[in-house]
Symmetry: C2
Subunit: 257 residues, 2 copies
């Protein structure tokens, strides 16, 4: 194995062009007026500035847009829930690239929209696939993604405003499991197919607090997790570089083995 | 060479983790109130929605933002200047990844802020480095990037509004050179360290029209081109996925050989 790995490293350095032939999966929902946001957050709006033929005779389109940072497929920077940690633009890119560990918890979430992913779910994955690699990007496949962009089914409520927040129901990561990942596994980042790494009924957002205090960013509303194998895919997740941002729109892709 | 390439491909498939050790360069300017936009376009604005300790005792930050699509380090989708071509979200990701061909035209641009990159500039590069590879991402290093974010020096004027447009002065790609790239070289995309792939004094934006009719997207206001070698780097450029967008914020990175 060490020999194979060394060979692989040597080969790789010699030629990035192999990347041109990698099979890619886009794990990103497009931003539109249908994009889902937290009930209290401003949604995505595209304003047409020009569309058509100009006085000079050529075709032209251009738009402006506005949105909250935390909606659609997006990054949570650690500063979102932990003082003195990385803002959106400060996260080293290397932390946003890594081997995917895909934890399938659809069975656990079926019939329980408030499921919180447990340490046992990670241990079960490791029983089958070996210990998760260092610097992995852990992706939780709850099955919630198939409801996108149906607010009622995806968020638990289609209502908007503060009174809708207690009605949010979707799975997340249990704080104890977050603490285990921080203490026991050196991961780069974590993502899932729900609006938040804490489950919908969370009030203290402890999982956010635990991960972000350790400068581990989160990817939320990740798409197409059904197209990834449990191991072997490679994630590249590049957020809009918002200076001092607490997060922002994320383009996240997977290279398939 | 074919044997080496095959070996490289085989090795590569077996292990993406070599990517974890690649040296990376971020070619992206961060978005802030200093970000440069076209004189007629709406600039980037970040609005603080919350920052501090919540009533529940935990730290929290969140913002909203707004901007025109075409400012800062951004993607021009082909639809920006050519009807019936790809919108921002429709561009295949594979077209946004490729081997970098870095054309250094700083000497030609020195003392001529209206320089337009010529076919001869590409031929000179090829004399030194061989024909540019298929599916390359061509990057024009005009030297203009060192002026970011000084509007007067970078754009040619710090004025805003329609009356400022005739005062724009910065280098670009000559339409004949654009046509040559389309007809003679199969490139994936093109980028540069100026606000526009057409030079500042352009009125018809012919280079945009020629490239975009061929579905070749452009990356504008690219940063840190001084950190790339003339050949051998690999570009990954992931735009915010704006549905039906004519472009948008781009996070663009290079893997160094």
């Amino acid at each position: 194995m060490p020999v194979l790995l060394s060979l692989s490293l040597i080969c790789f350095w010699s030629d990035f062009s192999a990347l041109d032939n990698a099979k890619l999966v886009d794990l990103t929902h497009a931003f539109s007026e249908k994009t889902l946001y937290w009930p209290t957050a401003k949604g995505f709006q595209l304003n047409e500035d020009f569309k058509g033929t100009t006085d000079n005779g050529f075709y032209y389109e251009a738009n402006s847009f506005s949105a909250a940072e935390h909606g659609g497929t997006h990054l949570d920077a650690p500063i979102h829930f932990a003082a003195d940690t990385w803002t959106c633009d400060q996260i080293p890119i290397q932390k946003l690239m890594g081997t995917a560990v895909v934890i399938d918890v659809r069975k656990q979430c079926k019939g329980n929209r408030d499921y919180q992913v447990q340490i046992g779910d990670f241990k079960n994955w490791e029983k089958q696939h070996g210990q998760m690699p260092k610097d992995a990007i852990v992706l939780l496949r709850t099955g919630n993604g198939k409801h996108w962009p149906d607010a009622e089914k995806y968020l638990g409520t289609a209502e908007r405003g503060p009174q809708a927040v207690p009605k949010l129901h979707f799975p997340g990561l249990h704080p104890e499991a977050a603490a285990w990942l921080v203490a026991e596994r050196h991961i780069d980042a974590i993502g899932l197919d729900t609006p938040s790494i804490d489950y919908g009924q969370s009030q203290l957002f402890e999982t956010h607090q635990i991960l972000f205090a350790a400068n581990i960013p989160a990817f939320e509303n990740v798409a197409n997790l059904d197209q990834l194998p449990p191991k072997g895919a490679y994630i590249i997740a590049l957020p809009m570089k918002i200076q001092a941002g607490s997060g922002g729109p994320l383009r996240i892709i997977a290279l398939l083995p």
